[in-house]
Symmetry: C2
Subunit: 180 residues, 2 copies
């Protein structure tokens, strides 16, 4: 999994894929499925919606660190499985056979099976709206992976898989940030 | 375009489609393309990232109203065109042949050519992070429309079109909100 330049990291989140978020509470790792995410800036700043209803939230709040991992369509049942059980009583890494790799700047692990991983620091928690503001500090992309199609949760128990890609780079040239 | 029950509105935004946002500054309508959006709650509460760099921002800030319209793949060049010119010097509705319909609770118009429209009130603007918090108050869906595939901006000038849909309703049953 090679390093991804920070100026390109927002392009992982902008299309709106389902993500896995790893945390560490000081004793053990955990992972949750998150579908509510948003880019805040081209400088790898993101928001996710989460709160006390997620077991991972306490670890996120106290450690102020996480890794955002981006799974692909072949991991659909891992994504749904991780999202429908709790780290309170389940070691999800063992249950779903997810391989943990050591991150560089944060304690929560990178997930080897995912297409991309973003090491993040928690910048702020806007508790009124359950918005967690994250700053990406390092990112990795597995370009050797054959399957690159990500998943988009609809919220009704169905998921849309990436289809074809349309190129409008020329029309958008003036609007694209540098380094893209 | 029929009414959509409010309990289902978050499913329009959760997959992460590119949206058009209409505003009215008290004198004229405008429309912008927004790719940074997030669901905040099942009760039709959303966030978008925008700021003074968008001409529409002043209208959004002052009128505290907008409509989120969801275009489909056949509107790709409208989406890119709207996103690469400014309401400061362009009547985008005329230029891109977008038909305005009267909204029920807000002054900005609904866009007839879009698959879905959500009338929204601005609940809050978190200026530190350029996050605008929106509350959906009414929504519409055009089920007669043949093309239903939406677009996901990557941020590098390319767009991913919706592909196939995978059903995991049974596995997720316990996690789905009521009314879905």
């Amino acid at each position: 999994m090679e390093s991804l330049q920070m100026s390109r990291v927002f392009t992982l989140i902008e299309p709106g894929p389902v993500v896995l978020v790893t945390t560490n509470d000081g004793q053990k790792d955990n992972v949750m499925t998150i579908t509510w995410t948003m880019v805040l800036d081209f400088t790898a700043e993101f928001a996710i919606t989460t709160g006390p209803w997620n077991y991972s939230y306490i670890a996120l709040q106290e450690s102020k660190e996480c890794v955002i991992s981006i799974p692909t369509v072949d991991l659909i049942d891992t994504v749904v499985g991780v999202g429908t059980c709790s780290g309170a009583d389940t070691d999800k890494f063992t249950k779903f056979k997810l391989t943990r790799l050591k991150a560089k700047y944060v304690r929560p692990p990178i997930i080897k099976e995912c297409l991309a991983n973003i090491e993040c620091k928690v910048v702020d928690i806007l508790t009124q709206y359950n918005i967690v503001v994250l700053q990406g500090v390092a990112a990795y992309f597995d370009s050797t992976r054959e399957e690159k199609k990500t998943l988009h949760a609809v919220g009704d128990g169905t998921f849309i898989v990436d289809g074809r890609r349309i190129d409008r780079k020329k029309m958008m040239q003036a609007k694209l940030p540098s380094g893209i």
